[in-house]
């Protein structure tokens, strides 16, 4: 079937089998291999991309169902010469070892910080209606959909926390 996808600001017209997931469309048909395939069952978060600015698992999304929603992948978040503040913090805090989960971690954390800014509570929030403190427990809970096989979690949390503080200072 004919599918039109808007990815990182560019519209692509593709002919795809309806079974094609957004993940496979990105990697195999658009050559955007920054988004990774880990488990392909929504359990690891390596495929996390932003759909209309919200984080989702691309492996459990059919490409044909998201034709009207802009997709942002890791390729659309900063460049090697112009990193986003979060990407810079991942470098500064050594927030990875092998790096395979990193694009998913960064996409997920980018959207997660917006969720906190919007006041969304989490399972770790003592109060459902109060302001959210960007604590270690909050970050760990909110990032639980992104696994890191190298267990770089400690540095990932530090990187996100620093980026959140910068964001708070800028606001």
């Amino acid at each position: 079937m004919q599918i039109s996808l808007s990815v990182n600001g560019t519209t692509h017209d593709l002919t795809l089998d309806p079974r094609t997931t957004l993940l496979d469309a990105l990697r195999q048909h658009l050559g955007l291999t920054g988004t990774k395939k880990g488990c392909d069952h929504g359990q690891c978060g390596a495929c996390t991309v932003l759909l209309d600015g919200r984080r989702v698992n691309a492996c459990l999304t059919l490409a044909c169902m998201v034709q009207d929603q802009p997709v942002t992948t890791i390729e659309g978040l900063g460049t090697p010469d112009a990193l986003t503040p979060l990407q810079q913090q991942f470098l500064d805090h050594d927030g990875f070892q092998c790096g395979y989960c990193t694009p998913g971690q960064i996409c997920s954390a980018t959207a997660m910080l917006k969720e906190i800014a919007a006041g969304w509570p989490s399972h770790a929030s003592a109060d459902l209606t109060g302001p959210v403190a960007v604590t270690h427990a909050e970050i760990a809970e909110r990032m639980s959909g992104n696994l890191c096989r190298c267990a770089a979690y400690s540095n990932i949390v530090d990187a996100i926390r620093q980026a959140a503080e910068q964001q708070g200072d800028a606001a």
Binding site: G42, L60, H123
Partner: protein, 322 residues
Amino acid sequence: MKPFTYHRAQTLTDRPDGATIIAGGTNLLDLMKHEVMTPEALLDITALDLNRLEAQGEGLRIGALVRNSDLAADPVIRRDYPLLSRALLAGASGQLRNMATTGGNLMQRTRCPYFYDRRMPCNKREPGSGCAAIGGINRNHAILGTSPACIATYSGDMAVALRALDAEVEIDGPAPRRVPLSEFHRLPGDTPDVETALRPDEIITAVLLPAPIGGQQLYRKVRDRASYAFALVSVAAIIGMENNRIAHAALAFGGVAAKPWRDAGAEALLIGQPPSDALFEQAADLILKPAKGYGGNDFKIPLLRRTLIATLRDATGMEATA
């Protein structure tokens, strides 16, 4: 994944016969990848106008397409139905909650590993083939309402809160109707493949919440890791106190049956009484009287008992003891 034809519905009545509805897709696509579900046609309903959350009478009408994350974060839900926010936030991951819908969450299938494994017998997947979980690895399985045909659990969290909140499911079809959440999910009996009251020609359009009832609302979920895991057991509790006595009690349990479990007798036992460990133990005894372990899940019986008592202590404001 088996091939299917794809249709995008523009109206509620735009429904090809036999098409399987897809919305968030978080469970259905996973099952299609495992070829446990092999629909010949998919009906994408995400363009339908079912994503509003609005007042209805003294309660709320939650459109079937409202995403779990939006529902959990909604200011009215957080203020008036905190139990629902808590249950939603205890489930899945941030990514999945952004995708999963209210209607789809009710329709999720069991996570019994034998249901997912097509090489193994499963009466839910293939009626008449047997149940590999009975006598097999059944650590995550049900202790209440089981049958010789099936011991799978309903694994969601949202519906457990909805059961305690006395929600209803709004259904469209040849004869539009409302089904109390208590009657929406089915116990396995002889037909574990029939999981809900929804008929093939029907569609969930909304979940209806009655007027807010206040009280202490707690959702306590016990699982193998601190986040992003299904419940071993969970307890949804709404407790209203008056003059140091329990004036209102609604208790629902997850991870223990094929549907969110509730026991009116135990609630009646609590009402009018001052809180005490002895009272909570009596309630637990009553709830667990029909419980049956299958070996691997025997631990769920004492686990549910302790989780209930701990939750009731918190909800009634009893001082914690060592």
